[in-house]
Symmetry: C2
Subunit: 369 residues, 2 copies
């Protein structure tokens, strides 16, 4: 029988995730599976929680990976914290803000959306005005908008949200592991991320964190969480405390990989990893500029790890990406929604964020143009 896995090519992943994976993470993934109730797995879970707390700069006890991809993290935050009729404000300037509003709306929340132009950041002054008009139970924002490459001012927004007594939810899918994430300092009450971006681990898990205030809201719900699989009131009993109760069978090997990916970050030093992301971003921007590409986001608001770029006039972005994939084995990302066909998204996430990868991409682009 032919085996399709034999013909898989080795691609340089420079899109919006998944990113490149260190060989030690692949090796971790392939270690012998153990039981989900085994004491050695419980010890590994505790280590993962501790590592995540350090990387997220939080003391939150409830900090752990959910058994799904980043979007399952988004679903987890909303489904546990929102009850029908709760007023939710979504600060929206990209695809993932749109998704948040969709997720919250499906759960019966009274969702208001404060829109900002795609490619520009959320403006705190506008947030103040919105918070003054209505009492919100929860305010949600995306730290690193993967669809546009914009970094939102989550610290400034957090200050405002706290002053108005709402819970503060921050999406850090693309930022975690590539730049500073400081949950407690920001006043974030709920957080989620994914493994396949700057953590440089294959997709499959969604780190989350809930503050004491978020847990209090969860515990005061009138009805059960309308999602058994992601119900934190149950999952906490598996991930926390002295006697762990079976909930679902955790993705054991994916947790090995996450452990190792976090281990790699701390071995290099988180600050050094963040500086490496910034350095390769600067290298990419200056190289692209020389080739006639324009950055879609203004300087000062750009993410280091996700670069939205407009090709030179006359260059067909879809054709260019196809050529890079077929002739150079490099994957770049397309634009999403209204940005489809207009921008290319270049990811510099985790192991992808190495100068040799930027040089290889720039050389390939030069050859293609």
């Amino acid at each position: 029988m032919a085996n399709r896995l034999d013909s898989l090519e080795k691609i340089l992943l420079m899109g919006p995730g998944p990113s490149m994976v260190h060989s030690s993470v692949y090796a971790a993934l392939a270690k012998d599976t153990i039981g989900h109730m085994d004491s050695s797995f419980i010890a590994l879970m505790d280590d993962i929680k501790a590592q995540l707390r350090v990387l997220c700069q939080t003391k939150n006890s409830v900090t752990m990976p959910m058994s799904g991809t980043g979007s399952a993290g988004m679903e987890t935050c909303f489904v546990n914290l929102v009850e029908p009729g709760d007023a939710v404000l979504v600060l929206q300037n990209g695809v993932f803000g749109v998704r948040m509003a969709d997720v919250a709306g499906r759960l019966g929340a009274d969702v208001d959306v404060l829109e900002f132009e795609w490619g520009t950041p959320v403006i705190p002054d506008d947030v103040v005005k919105a918070l003054g008009k209505k009492k919100y139970a929860l305010v949600a924002v995306v730290h690193a908008e993967t669809s546009t490459g914009v970094c939102n001012p989550v610290e400034a927004i957090g200050k405002l949200v706290k002053e108005h007594g709402a819970l503060y939810l921050v999406d850090c899918v693309t930022s975690l592991g590539g730049m500073e994430v400081a949950l407690d300092h920001w006043g974030a009450d709920a957080f989620y991320s994914g493994t396949q971006k700057c953590l440089s681990c294959p997709p499959g898990l969604a780190p989350i964190s809930f503050s004491e205030a978020a847990i209090a809201k969860l515990k005061s719900r009138k009805k059960k969480v309308p999602n058994w699989y992601l119900d934190l009131t149950l999952i906490i009993n598996y991930w926390e405390g002295n006697s762990r109760a079976y909930h679902h069978t955790a993705p054991i090997n994916m947790n090995y990989a996450l452990y190792q990916a976090l281990h790699c970050i701390f071995e290099e030093g988180a600050d050094r990893v963040f500086k490496r992301h910034q350095a390769v971003h600067d290298q990419l921007v200056s190289g692209l500029d020389a080739l006639g590409f324009k950055m879609y986001v203004k300087e000062g608001f750009r993410l280091p790890m996700l670069n939205a770029v407009v090709p030179p006039p006359g260059v067909d972005e879809a054709h260019l990406r196809k050529q890079l994939r077929q002739e150079y084995m490099i994957e770049l990302g397309s634009g999403l929604g209204p940005l489809a066909g207009k921008i290319i998204r270049i990811g510099l996430m985790g192991e992808t964020a190495r100068k040799e990868n930027v040089n290889r991409l720039l050389a390939a682009l030069r050859a293609c143009l």
Copy 2:
């Protein structure tokens, strides 16, 4: 920095899952990650769907793995097919039937439970009576009750459910890959399973299948599915058709592993795999009998891959399991719920279902008693 992964032991997994994993599946898991929109990944997705259809004996177009563990499969079936107020009948004779009722209830279903004694199968005559009393939108049953080791008569039940015009949901988490699953022949409209049982793959994905009737129900919903992450109306656009639309980033490497695990089953031959499960079950039952263990389930209703056994009088089951784990590196499972402390669950799933493993366990038990 110490690395906890270095101290993981190699355990013979003979509990209720995860099961042993073939080395080729570990190798698949560790292959280079590619993009979730890459044409080579799309081709792999199509192969996985085709393989699953063969193993499930179904023509259902919507047959694919969900990005979560088996319980996410359960959640997927209910959240897509149940609307608030829908009458749902759960045939319950173990933990997973209890879980089904919980999941459906959270979604606002009008849930009736028809209970059968744990350790005994669902009785079709009782199902007929229940179906005559009320019109149900959906009837749900577990094929292989992992908590008790009972095999339910899903074919006979399916015939009754179809006669009464309800949708028929069958949980095959523990049966798929270890015994025949014949969805179309049973009249099953919705099905879910997990990778970590008889598919012999690490946990992390949940194969599902929906019939045309189930898809019709999904498409006629009054409101959006109240779960964005598991919304099949969206996910189908990623897994089906000519132009695939991004939904969430699929767990790429877990899909490699599932592909390879299915490949292994078809290389050996599915019928041979099922016979192997039955043969090692017979070997285990006769070996345990000689040691004074009693089977919890009567002959004729036993699952080959999940054996609920009552230890000889005077033997403490928790102590015995601990000794096997610590001194023989063998994992067995405890009883769940009312069966905790009363039974031991011995899994013979997938790669675990080998005669040398049964011999190793029997020798270890002999030494411990």
